[in-house]
């Protein structure tokens, strides 16, 4: 038991359920934060709307999930980098539009398949999943359509899309690491994910990246609170104001 077993935000939920809510909640929260950085910077106004729409959906999921584990704001704003349980994929910087779309494709297919599985179960996670799967289907469609447009668009967009898919591939293995408290068939998830993502990439006239889906040492590291370098900076920005006024309500 490390000190990290008792993070802020209370701890009413039992261990595995709390760990499940934190893992999935942190995924959604961190990706919503990244997408929020796009506001006012998108290539067309319609994408400003779409990206903030997706960010809002994810933030809504994060709030529901974190509330299952404790107080949403204490959990979001008062945990340190080492206490976050999100996969490293979602914390990756936005990069160019292709990089953001590749991250969206990888993650939204994962989320749609996972929530599709969980929606059939029971309990609070199943309830959340049943609602969220409708949102993630939309997110996946958005990412899929843009992967096709960029992959099968111009030479420049094709080059950027391939490079984005290649660059983020190493972070995808972590998506299939079992999470305690999440009653999923992880092998089915992994093979379903490869089928869907592979089909989209091939249809976009791109190449499915080769090599391991994670570097040898970091597989599953995000779930253990080991993150990449840009994550701490992202949290510093996200948490600064809240931490500057301890005990204040907003």
């Amino acid at each position: 038991m490390s000190a990290h077993e008792q993070p802020p935000g209370g701890g009413t939920a039992p261990g595995p359920q709390r760990r499940a809510a934190l893992a999935l909640g942190d995924d959604a929260l961190v990706l919503a934060q990244r997408l929020g950085e796009w506001a006012g910077h998108a290539p067309v106004l319609e994408e400003d709307v779409a990206l903030s729409n997706i960010a809002l959906d994810l933030l809504g999921q994060a709030r529901t999930l974190l509330s299952l584990a404790g107080d949403e704001d204490e959990l979001a704003y008062l945990r340190e980098e080492r206490e976050f349980r999100n996969v490293q994929l979602v914390e990756q910087p936005n990069g160019d539009f292709a990089r953001t779309i590749a991250r969206q494709l990888y993650f939204s297919v994962h989320q749609e398949l996972l929530y599709g599985q969980l929606a059939g179960g029971r309990g609070e996670l199943a309830e959340l999943a049943a609602k969220a799967v409708k949102e993630t289907a939309y997110h996946r469609d958005h990412a899929e359509q843009w992967t096709l447009r960029l992959g099968d668009g111009t030479a420049e967009s094709r080059r950027r899309m391939q490079s984005a898919l290649d660059g983020l591939w190493r972070y995808t293995g972590e998506l299939f690491q079992p999470v305690e408290g999440v009653p999923a068939d992880w092998e089915a998830l992994a093979s379903g994910w490869r089928n869907v993502v592979g089909a989209v990439i091939e249809q976009a006239a791109l190449t499915v990246p080769e090599g391991p889906q994670s570097s040898a040492w970091s597989a599953g590291a995000g779930r253990q609170g080991v993150h990449t370098e840009s994550f701490g900076r992202m949290l510093a920005e996200m948490q600064h104001l809240h931490r500057s006024h301890p005990g204040a309500s907003w």
Binding site: G36, E37, A39, G40, H41, A42, P43, V44, L45, E46, E47, D48, V49, S52, N53, A55, L56, D57, L59, R63, E72, D73, A76, Y77, F97, V109, E112, L113, Y115, G116, A119, V133, K134, A137, Y138, D141, H142, E144, Q145, L148, R149, L150, G153, T154, E156, S157, G192, V196, A199, V200, Q203, E237, M238, L241, H242, H245, G247, A248, S249, W250
Partner: protein, 374 residues
Amino acid sequence: MTTVLPERGSGGESGPGGGDARALDDADRLAVFDAAIAADERIEPRDWMPDKYRSGLIRQIAQHAHSEIIGMQPEANWITRAPSLRRKAILMAKVQDEAGHGLYLYSAAETLGADREDLLDKLHTGRQKYSSIFNYPTLTWADVGAIGWLVDGAAITNQVPLCRCSYGPYARAMVRVCKEESFHQRQGYELLLALSRGTPAQHAMAQDAVDRWWWPSLMMFGPPDAESSHSAQSMAWKIKRHSNDELRQRFVDICVPQAEALGLTLPDPDLRWNEERGLHDFGTIDWSEFQEVLKGNGPCNEQRVTQRRTAHENGAWVREAAAAYAAKQAARAAAYAPEAGVAHTPQAHTQQARVTTGAESTGPEQHTEGGPAA
């Protein structure tokens, strides 16, 4: 507009008839137009209208659209730092709404024959303006509340009368915009109230924000009536229904009791109730500051336009890719079913990539809750 001549064309363009017949025609059309305005009827895109009515409206609607999208920046500046998840969600939704308002308004301008790309280009090159208020910086979280309360409040005071504007598409856009803006304004007020009733540091933050945003908000109503160049014609054409000074006075009278309820003061030593007028007297606006901001010398003018232009330039390859893809898809559809004309749409094309998740029935078209504005 119900009374129309049999031949309805777009204003100002020479038809094949030309010559004297056309001059007479325009006089008749002007009479019909004037009668429609006098009868408070709506002018619609296919109706004849004076060239200056058309060009004036394009300018006004475009600048309104530009204000919505430039106005995303000062608030988006705080999305990543919002101090609670609830506030972050509200702010994200608001900035998203603003992009949606920009889209409605560009569509309204396009009904007059303008082109969105061209209007954006005019914004990016400084040939068209946007509201002066967005050239002020958001320096603290409380500024997000002050913008909601004061800036959206001023915008609503200006825009509610536009819901009765003589040009139908603009009036209808304003109905939708005003509903959402009123919601944002209440949220901004509530944000400030939470700060005002919070810790001493939060209260001070709220007061500081109101001190900085009050005068710029009053400037949103434009120059004094005596110096407002477009006002007379806009009012004659019922595009505008009230003068700048009337609306500004109305706004001050609304804000004073709200400030009291907030427990905050307005930074104007001359502000007091005038029993005789039944209105509040208030101090003199610094019109030299207003002129400087309009000329591009406000605190954030350069930054705002540069960010817009940079987003547009950085996105060029994405827009080019989308266009190239659409062209390829159209060519493929033509080759695939040249005679039947069956479009091989990207949607149909990607069905094979879908998976069984129990979510097939919920495509993007069903995603209406907070979904992307058309």
